[in-house]
Amino acid sequence: MTPALEVVGLTLDFRQDGRALRVLDGVSFRVDAGRTLAIVGESGCGKSVASLAVMGLLPENATVGGAIRLAGRELTSLSREERRMLRGAEMAMIFQEPMTSLNPAFTAGEQVAEALRLHQGLDRAAAFAEAIRMLDRVRIPDAARRARQYPHQLSGGMRQRVMIAMALACRPKLLIADEPTTALDVTVQAQILALLDEMKRETGTAVILVTHDLGVVADHADEVAVMYAGRIAEQAAAATLFARPEHPYTAGLLGAAPGEGERGERLASIEGTVPDLRAPPRGCRFAPRCPFVISGCIAEPPPLAEVAPGHLSACWRAPLDTVLGQAA
C-alpha cells in the first residue's frame, strides 16, 4: 500500500547572515491512511519545522532537501502555486493557538465555507450549508447559530473545533496537528483529542500529531517518532516505544515525565541542555548528555537502524539490553 505520506532523508537549512543552519538532518518517516504518527520531542528538536516542510509553509530563506511524497506524489518539485492548491484540499494543518489561525474578521461558518468554495467549487450558499454540517460534525452545539459568530465569541475549545472542521472539510489525505491542545485545559483537551480520533476513523485521513506530551502520545498515537536536535532518535509502534525504548534519550524522557513511579522519587534528569545547532556534536547528538556514551558515539553519528521488526533506533549501543547486561 502506498503510504499517505512518506518523507525520506528530509534536510532543512535556514540561511542566516550568509551562513546555513541545518535544523533537520536526514529525517525519514511514513504514515498510512487512518493511522496516527506522533512526532515527539522538546523545543527546538525540529518537530514543528518538519511539519511545516511537509506542508510547504516554510519561509523564503529555507532550503529543503530529500523527498516528500503525498500518496506517492513528489511534492518537493512542485511550484509554490501547486503546493498552495494542495493545502486545504489534500493536506491540512491545525496549530496550537486557533485564535491566531482564524481570521477575526470572518464568521466561523464563512471560514469553513471558504475552503469548500476554493477547493470543491461549491457556490456561496451550498458552501455555507456544508460548513454548518461540518461544524455540527465536530460537535459544536447549535452549529447554525455558531456558524454566524466571530472567533472572539467562541471559547478556546470551540475555536479548535472550528479549525478541525476547516481542516477536514475537503477530506484531506493528511492532517497535521501541531500541539493542537497545548493551549487548552485538560478536560477540553480530552474532548478535542477524542474528536480527532473519531474524525480520523470516519474520514480515513492520516494524522501526524506533533506534541511534547508523552501522555497524549500514549493515548492517541499508533506510531511514534522521537526527535532530538534535528534527527530522529527512535521510531516504533507506540506500545513498543513505551514498554521497550531502545534509545537512551527516549528512556530519559519517559523517566523525566512526572506522574509515574513513586511519589517523591527523583525524576530521571537528563543533565545538560540540547546542543547548539550552529555547532552540533560530530557524532551522536545526544552523546554529551548520554549516560551510556562510548568513544564510537562521539566519532560518528549512528544511523537509524532496525533493532527489532518495525523498531528503529539511532544508537550505537542499541539494543540496550546489552548495556544493562554489562552494567549488571
Partner: protein, 350 residues
C-alpha cells in the same frame, strides 16, 4: 503539626465594567475558600483556567486584599497588618511565577537580582552579600561565576533556577509557586522539580504549588485541593484524592489526563462564566451524575482528612484506575537509574 497558613471564608470578586465604565457585575474569582497549610507541608491547588487558583495564591501572599474572610500567617491576620508590618512579613513568604522571562528584571545582573531581597530585608551585612549570592546560586545548581551575567543569557530552566535563588534569599518559611515548571520542556522540568523537592525537604519549607499539571502535583504534593469556579470541591491527602477521587469534577479531571489516571465519565462543554456562576453546585451544568437538588443546594466541603463538596457523596459508583500505558516496567526503570546518577564527563568510557 501546626498551621502556618490559614484561610477562612476568603472571598475575592473583581468588578467587571461595560463599555461605558458602568459596573456590570463581578468575576467571582474566589468564593468562600477555607484551608490550612501545615508547617513543612506541600499543598497543591489544582484546577483549570479561571478556577481562581492563581487569585487564591495572591490572596495567600496578601498581594491582593480579600473582600471577606481572613488570611492568617503564623497566627497573624495579614489583612489587618499595617503596611510597614506587612513589608516586614514579606521576607517570610515568596512567590515563584510561571514565566521566568517576565519575573526577572532584564536590567539587573543575576547577582543584583538575587542580592536585592538580601538588602531589602537586611539578611546579611553588605560585605557578605557576594558570598551569600554565591551560596544561593550553588544551592540551586548554578555556578557562582554566572553571577555577573544578565537574564537574557540564560535558558528558561536556568532562569527559573535564578528566580528560585532570589525567592530563597530572604530565608522564607512559605513559598507559593504559581505553575513554576509549566513553561519548561519535560527534561528541564524534571531538573527543576527535583531541585524544588530537595529544597523543600532540606530547608523544611512550606510550599503551596498552584498547578494544572496533575503529574507534577502527584510527584510533589502531600495534600491536594481541587478548585472549580472559585470554590474548593475536594481536598485531602494527595494519594487519596488522586487515586480515589470523590468529586465528579476531580474524577473527570483525572480521567482527562492523558496516559494515566482513572476511568470516569468524560465531561462535555466548557467551564461556565465566573461572572454568572450557576446556582446550587457550580459543577451541576457539566456533571454526569447531577440530580434536581444539585441545581438548588450549594454543597459544603465536609469530611476529614478527605473532604468533598458533593451532595451525592457516598452514592457515586467507585472509580477504577486506568491501565498505565506509560508504565515501562523493570527494564525501563534500570535504564532510567543511569540518568539519576551524575552523568560521566563527555568522552569517558563506561
Amino acid at each position: 503539626m501546626s498551621a502556618l497558613l490559614e484561610l477562612d471564608g476568603v472571598v475575592k470578586r473583581f468588578p467587571v465594567r461595560d463599555a461605558l465604565g458602568r459596573r456590570a457585575g463581578a468575576v467571582h474569582a474566589v468564593d468562600g475558600v477555607s484551608l490550612s497549610v501545615a508547617q513543612g507541608e506541600t499543598l497543591a491547588i489544582v484546577g483549570e483556567s479561571g478556577c481562581g487558583k492563581s487569585t487564591l495564591g495572591r490572596l495567600m501572599m496578601n498581594l491582593i486584599t480579600p473582600d471577606a474572610g481572613s488570611v492568617r500567617f503564623a497566627g497573624e491576620d495579614l489583612v489587618r497588618l499595617s503596611p510597614a508590618a506587612m513589608r516586614a512579613r514579606r521576607r517570610d513568604m515568596q512567590l515563584i511565577f510561571q514565566d521566568p522571562f517576565a519575573s526577572l528584571d532584564p536590567r539587573m545582573t543575576v547577582e543584583q537580582a538575587v542580592a536585592e531581597p538580601l538588602r531589602l530585608h537586611r539578611i546579611v551585612p553588605r560585605g557578605e552579600e557576594r558570598a551569600r549570592v554565591a551560596d544561593l546560586l550553588s544551592r540551586v545548581g548554578l555556578r557562582p561565576e554566572l553571577a555577573r551575567r544578565w537574564p537574557h543569557e540564560f535558558s528558561g530552566g536556568q532562569r527559573q533556577r535564578i528566580a528560585i535563588a532570589r525567592a530563597l534569599a530572604s530565608q522564607p518559611r512559605l513559598i507559593v509557586g504559581d505553575e513554576p515548571v509549566s513553561a519548561l520542556d519535560v527534561s528541564v522540568q524534571a531538573q527543576v522539580v527535583n531541585l524544588l523537592s530537595d529544597l523543600i525537604r532540606d530547608l523544611g519549607l512550606t510550599f503551596v504549588l498552584i498547578s494544572h499539571d496533575l503529574g507534577v502535583v502527584r510527584h510533589v504534593a502531600d495534600r491536594v485541593a481541587v478548585m472549580y469556579l472559585g470554590r474548593i470541591v475536594e481536598q485531602g491527602p494527595a494519594e487519596e484524592v488522586l487515586t480515589a477521587p470523590k468529586h465528579p469534577y476531580t474524577r473527570a479531571l483525572l480521567a482527562a489526563v492523558p496516559g494515566h489516571g482513572v476511568k470516569a465519565p468524560p465531561i462535555e462543554g466548557d467551564v461556565p462564566s465566573p461572572i454568572a456562576p450557576p446556582p446550587g453546585c457550580r459543577f451541576h451544568t457539566r456533571c454526569p451524575f447531577a440530580e434536581a437538588q444539585c441545581r438548588i443546594i450549594q454543597p459544603e466541603l465536609t469530611g476529614a482528612p478527605h473532604a468533598v463538596a458533593c451532595l451525592l457523596d457516598g452514592r457515586l459508583p467507585p472509580v477504577r484506575p486506568r491501565p498505565e500505558r506509560l508504565a515501562g516496567g523493570e527494564r525501563l526503570r534500570r535504564l532510567q537509574s543511569f540518568f539519576r546518577a551524575p552523568a560521566p564527563p563527555t568522552g569517558a568510557q563506561p
